[in-house]
């Protein structure tokens, strides 16, 4: 029973990821693509959690936190590049 539910949830997340990949390829502006990549990372976290339920292991739980942190840092870096043109400033003018 649980396995069926988890497999159905995996199918739903796969469909959601296909929609996000469509937005990533088609997206008219760059911020559309950045948001799509961020949401793809979050969906990847859900996939890892469901796969670790299917495999009955807790060896992947650190990967969940890892992808969360990496998606955050990547999105912040990309949005800072779009906003200011540089990712790491030498000196703030304030």
């Amino acid at each position: 029973m649980l396995e069926t539910v988890v497999q159905f949830a995996l199918l739903c997340i796969a469909i959601a990821m296909l929609g996000l990949i469509y937005r990533l390829v088609k997206g008219p502006t760059v911020p559309d693509r950045v948001v799509a990549l961020d949401a793809l990372g979050i969906n990847l976290i859900a996939v890892i959690a469901l796969v670790s339920i299917i495999l009955k292991t807790n060896a992947f739980l650190e990967i969940i936190l890892l992808i969360g942190i990496l998606a955050f840092i990547g999105t912040v870096a990309f949005s800072k590049y779009l906003e200011k043109g540089v990712i790491i400033e030498r000196e703030r003018n304030s």
Partner: protein
């Protein structure tokens, strides 16, 4: 126009410690669970990269006044030192030893010299990553 990123800076001040605690956990769990020196060092470097993103190179150099090339050198010294330490006890190079010690707070703890080798890997990964990122960030 002056851009004010107070939300990013406040969030960084909170999230930074979570990332560093997670990297320390990954580092010390490496013997029995997934993790180890490499991924722990990368997560610590990611925390410092987040600090670089929220602030700037000069502020981070003031917070962490390390020459990261020297951090790399100290890490390599740790790795070679634990390898060469085995030679003192008439054992082949890179032979590791462990002992069960009774520490005051932690109780019975298995202490292994492979942790010292892992500290070397940790420092080398932090040093190399941040040297690359700071060098690219400083060039125009």
């Amino acid at each position: 126009m002056k851009i004010n990123d107070v939300i990013l800076q406040t969030a960084t001040k909170l999230v930074l410690f979570v990332i560093i605690l997670f990297s320390i956990h990954l580092f010390f769990a490496g013997h029995y669970y997934p993790g180890g020196g490499f991924i722990g060092g990368l997560m610590t470097a990611a925390a410092i990269v987040l600090l670089l993103l929220a602030f700037d190179l000069k502020t981070v150099a003031k917070i962490l006044p390390f020459d990261f090339k020297k951090v790399t050198a100290i890490g390599l010294l740790f790795a070679v030192g634990t390898g060469a330490g085995a030679l003192l006890f008439d054992a082949p190079f890179l032979t590791h030893a462990f002992t069960d010690a009774y520490l005051p707070l932690l109780g019975k703890t298995s202490l292994h010299t492979a942790v010292l080798f892992d500290i070397g890997v940790y420092l080398v990964v932090i040093g190399v990553t941040l040297t690359i990122i700071q060098t690219i960030g400083e060039s125009e």
